[in-house]
Amino acid sequence: MSQLGVNGPFLLAQIINFVILYLILNRFVFPPLRRMLDERKRRIAEGLAAADVARKEAEEERARLMAQIEAERADAQRRISEASAQAERIRADILAEAQREAEAIKTRAVEEAEAEKQRILAEAHKQIAELALLATERVVRQSLDESAQHKLIEEFLSETSLN
């Protein structure tokens, strides 16, 4: 072995050297390195989990908002259709009212016209009678007493009934 250069003191020196090297590295270099790596691994895992949670939350929020928007849209739609139905109803009401009023106006006009006609006819009767009387008086030049006059008028009128 000595021809190979192996001898006790050198061997021992190498063993001691390695042990010291191991102790130094395992005290000053590896622990901070490992701490850093573990810490970073933990933080990345946490970050990923947090991102996951946030994503889930955002998705839920989005779904909630979408539902809300949908509900509001439906509500608006409902209101619009309600309003339009109401408008339709009001229109119909107004139309009916107008129609009714027109009808009433028309009826009243007809009635008024009828009454006027009757009145005018009655007036005409009276004037015709007076004219006839006047004419007869002129023709007969005869003066009748009041009662005979009325009797004559009555007779005349009943004979000339203008119905």
């Binding site: 000595s2 021809q3 190979l4 250069g5 192996v6 001898n7 003191p9 050198f10 061997l11 021992l12 020196a13 190498q14 063993i15 050297n17 390695f18 042990v19 010291i20 090297l21 191991y22 130094i24 590295l25 395992n26 000053f28 270099v29 590896f30 901070p32 390195l33 490992r34 850093m36 790596l37 970073r40």
Partner: protein
């Protein structure tokens, strides 16, 4: 490639090329020294304990790793940058693998060991590829070892042979040449003459080889090319795996070697127990020699290529050694964890696995 040839770049590149060619032509490279034991650096010792160039390289790797590591965690940022990013990346790259092998809890416990072995060996191996790392050192005149055709050393200057293979692996700074019969005759005469005068004989004078040759004793040499380091790490690795096994399995751990239960046959089981014991020893040998062999071979390869032609030829081999350096560090580290993992499995027969 185009940007490389813009502005003043062509002149700089051309200058470098000319300098390389001139240096290859006119400056003789030092003989690469290839020897197994690490070179002791002359005049340098700690408490009377000689310091080798591989020991210096080990300390250099230590310092590099500790400084880089401390810089990486000095100001930790949430968004990592630079060294912190590099260390985090390396850690993350292997954390999953270790968890796969050893499970979550054990993986967490053994990860520092894995990373220490990996990073230390990686840096120690890659330092070899840094220019000047093992090419700066003390220049020494070449010593010549004379070898008879039969293989025995005749010269007084000889430093001995290694495993009887003097022409393959030389002692540091030595070069061996075979002697012709004529030279041998003259050497014998010279030796007798020197003896007669009571002087030490330093081999036959050979102007061709003895003059002008220099060799280099580098200040640094790849740490894993000194068997002490791989064996030390392998002992730690296998040793800790035994400790883990004993602490986890208590008395049952010994049954792995004494009376494991694999088959219905007690005799075969006890044989397997012996094999288990041998395999624990083999782990030390295989771990250490795999690392040592690969890195040593890589060093020799780079030396030889640079010595043959310093111009461009070593380039692909630097790429290869970059890969080998990482691979060996990784294999050593991952096997350590695998041995840990193996040690906690009971072979007492009361467990299904």
């Amino acid at each position: 490639m185009q940007r490389l040839l813009q502005g003043r770049n062509p002149f700089i590149l051309g200058g470098i090329l000319v300098a390389i060619i001139l240096s290859v032509l006119f400056v003789k490279p030092a003989m690469p020294t290839i020897q197994l034991p690490a070179e002791k650096i002359p005049g340098l010792s700690i408490f009377g304990f000689p310091v080798t160039n591989t020991l210096l390289a080990t300390l250099l790797a230590d310092v590099t790793l500790v400084v880089l590591g401390l810089l990486a965690v000095r100001k930790m940022r949430d968004v990592p940058e630079g060294l912190q990013n590099l260390f985090e990346w390396v850690w993350e790259a292997f954390d999953g693998m270790i968890t796969d092998i050893a499970g979550k809890d054990n993986g967490r416990k053994w990860m520092p060991m894995f990373m220490t072995v990996l990073l230390f060996l990686l840096i120690a191996n890659w330092w070899e590829l840094v220019p000047g790392f093992d090419s700066v050192g003390i220049i020494e005149p070449l010593e010549v070892t004379y070898v008879e055709s039969g293989g025995t050393v005749t010269s007084g200057a000889a430093k001995g042979t290694f495993l009887g293979l003097p022409s393959i692996v030389r002692p540091k700074g030595a070069i061996s040449i075979s002697l012709t019969d004529e030279q041998k005759q003259r050497a014998l005469e010279e030796a007798e003459e020197a003896e007669a005068h009571g002087e030490a004989y330093h081999g036959p004078h050979d102007p061709e080889h003895a003059s002008g040759g220099y060799t280099l004793l580098p200040f640094f040499r790849a740490a894993a090319t000194d068997l002490n380091l791989p064996i030390a790490l392998a002992l730690i690795s296998v040793g800790i795996s035994q400790v883990i096994g004993i602490r986890r399995l208590r008395g049952k751990y010994a049954r792995r070697f004494v009376a494991p239960v694999y088959t219905n046959n007690k005799f075969i089981d006890s044989l397997i127990g012996v094999l288990e014991f041998i395999s624990e020893l083999a782990k030390i040998v295989s771990l250490s020699f795999r690392l040592f062999g690969n890195i040593f071979a890589g060093q020799v390869l780079l030396f030889v290529m640079a010595f043959l032609l310093a111009l461009l030829l070593p380039l692909p081999f630097f790429g290869l050694e970059l890969f080998v350096g990482f691979m060996q560090a990784f294999v050593f580290a991952i096997l350590t964890v695998i041995y840990f993992e193996q040690s906690i499995h009971s072979h007492a027969g009361d467990e299904h696995h």
